[in-house]
């Protein structure tokens, strides 16, 4: 298939349809509105259902119902809307339902702004809703990668019966890039014999539930989910490493910010500064071992994490490198996007030991 020029949000929607998603439940919020609009147009053509819910709260609970009924289903929103969905997300994780949730992040807290940000990192990877659970959080940095990760995300969700989040930002959602929709081979996925489809006695009665009133039973349930998380950590952790082999400074960034860091790296190279990049693609599970590995190298003198937030992922970077090397941070927030020159200045500061 040839390349087509597409807006990030529309590419996500098309990728989902091509991945077999036939149900979308959402609520309008900027800057992700192209996703529901695209779905509203395309899903009926593909024999699917688009439904604009009365709220984000309702939308995520429709996802719960549809996922429990065995469908490949998704929702999308942006930061304040994702906050509203947290209750449902916690129930979905507790009931072990697969679904895809897209967050096209905008600046916060509160109503915040509508420009791109990465300030929902904590919310995405550390829980967000109540209880012991994790989302698998995928952070694409190009529109092509967004397309690829949508398919991958649905498969991961189905394989492990766990909600998966695509963490984008307003920049990735709104920009246009050429993308290719390759026919991808789906993973071999387990049958959804647990779904509520009507019980004819040919399998155990299906009960989708996250209530376990006996504490020992609940602990067992959570332990089971956490054994699954260990498997996800072992099998699904992804990161891109760029020019780390001889780097003196390793910059860490994800999504849009990683693209800007790459420009800063080229500027640094012209100045003779050796800079590497570790770009986590899965924010949860976090590529801890990748960081540990590079932190042990003598040629690496320091780490610099760059984010469009006040410093959230940097906490995971610092934890991962475990004090072996200094960990620095540079960020812009509120919808302000760092530029390559600013990042280069930070790299030089870190290198000069002045950070």
């Amino acid at each position: 298939m040839s390349k087509v020029l597409m807006k990030g949000n529309e590419a996500i929607a098309e990728a989902a349809i091509q991945a077999g998603c036939r149900y979308f439940f959402g609520y309008p919020i900027t800057p992700q509105n192209e996703i529901p609009a695209y779905m509203a147009k395309r899903l009926p053509q593909a024999g699917g259902t688009f439904l604009q819910a009365e709220s984000e709260v309702a939308a995520i609970n429709m996802v719960y119902g549809a996922a429990g009924a065995g469908a490949r289903v998704m929702t999308s929103s942006s930061s304040p809307g994702i906050s509203l969905k947290q209750e449902g997300i916690s129930y979905i994780a507790g009931a072990e339902l697969p679904c895809l949730i897209v967050n096209i992040v905008r600046g916060g807290p509160g109503l915040g702004g509508i420009q791109p940000a990465q300030s929902d990192y904590f919310q995405s990877v550390k829980g967000g809703g109540h209880g012991d659970y994790h989302l698998v959080v995928l952070a694409p940095s190009t529109i092509q990668e967004m397309v690829d990760l949508v398919q991958e995300g649905f498969d991961i969700a189905d394989q492990y019966r766990n909600p998966v989040m695509i963490l984008g930002d307003g920049m990735l959602g709104q920009m246009m890039e050429p993308v290719e929709f390759e026919e991808r081979k789906s993973r071999r996925l387990p049958p959804k014999d647990w779904a509520t489809t009507g019980w004819k006695g040919d399998r155990p009665r299906a009960v989708i539930n996250s209530l376990f009133i006996n504490p020992q039973v609940l602990e067992n349930h959570v332990n089971k989910i956490y054994r699954k998380y260990q498997e996800i950590k072992a099998n699904e952790t992804m990161a891109e490493c760029c020019n780390c082999e001889d780097a003196e400074i390793i910059v860490s960034a994800y999504g849009t910010t990683a693209r800007i860091v790459k420009s800063a790296m080229e500027m640094a190279a012209r100045k003779g500064i050796k800079v590497g990049l570790i770009r986590p693609i899965t924010l949860w599970p976090f590529p801890t071992e990748t960081f540990q590995e590079w932190a042990q190298r003598d040629h690496v003198k320091a780490f610099l994490t760059v984010e469009m937030s006040m410093g959230q992922m940097v906490e995971d970077v610092t934890l991962s490198i475990g004090g072996k090397k200094p960990s620095h941070f540079y960020g812009r927030t509120g919808g302000m996007v760092p530029n390559p020159a600013d990042i280069l200045a930070e790299i030089e500061k870190v290198r000069g030991g002045n950070a």
Binding site: L51, A59, M62, V73, G198, G201, R205, N209
Partner: protein
């Protein structure tokens, strides 16, 4: 001798957790009997609420999903959109449906979701210990209206059925009661009719069932039935509120 009354097949043969004299058990049985009579158990998917009926998924002998507080109509909509040929019902109390889930029920009804809601109105929160519900009557004393519900500060009891009946998407809405045998028979007919309307694809259906809460009302079960009759029915008139032709 032939059996003239036995437990319906759609109700699992285990003890229910409800307090002595609580009418939830009667309504569970009526829903199960309607499922049996229409022979729809194998294609029914139920949605349990949060509240006293939270364990309904343990009682109905069909596939079930347990929803977050108030969200059952949204969950049911998700299920029904995926399985339009199945029968989908929610079973919700007054705190769940009329308070925290007010938006979900209004919009499910307004979209004409082809689901059936069994709405238990007993004018109080049961599971959490007898707090004021949106349907608590004026001057009714509860844990959170210890001086009686006052309209100046707590507003008026909501007549859910009448409110939803104004919506175009609602196909069948009736308020029934289970305080005596005659009314129990009528309640069962209403529930059955709601399922039939759903099977015919007519739109949203809801049966509001006036019920008791002896424990939190602080009365015996028999006194509770009398209180329901004397106090609830005058404010919540029984009957069909909407019937699409």
């Amino acid at each position: 001798m032939a059996k003239v009354f036995e437990r319906p097949k759609s109700l699992i043969d285990i003890p229910m957790h409800y307090c002595p004299g609580c009418t939830h058990g009667i309504v569970h049985r009526l829903v199960a009997e309607a499922m049996d009579e229409l022979n729809i158990r194998e294609k029914t998917i139920g949605v349990a609420p949060v509240g006293c009926a939270v364990f309904a998924y343990d009682y109905f002998n069909c596939d079930m999903q347990e929803a977050a507080h108030g969200r059952a109509p949204a969950v049911a909509a998700g299920i029904k959109r995926v399985h339009p040929d199945n029968v989908v019902f929610t079973y919700q109390g007054d705190g769940d449906l009329a308070s925290i889930g007010a938006a979900e029920i209004v919009h499910a009804a307004n979209r004409g979701e082809k689901i059936t809601t069994v709405f238990i109105n007993n004018a109080i929160y049961g599971m959490t210990g007898g707090q004021m519900a949106p349907t608590t009557l004026l001057d009714q004393v509860t844990a959170t209206s210890p001086y009686g519900r006052k309209p100046e500060t707590e507003g008026y009891p909501i007549r859910v059925s009448e409110m939803l009946a104004t919506l175009e998407g609602a196909a069948y809405i009736e308020r029934v009661s289970v305080h005596d045998i005659k009314h129990i028979v009528r309640a069962k007919k209403a529930i059955r009719k709601a399922f039939e309307y759903q099977l015919e694809g007519r739109g949203f259906t809801l049966v509001e069932v006036l019920s008791t809460c002896p424990t939190n009302w602080g009365m015996t079960p028999a006194e509770s039935l009398k209180w329901l009759q004397d106090n609830m029915i005058p404010y919540y008139p029984l009957g069909v509120k909407k019937e699409a032709k």
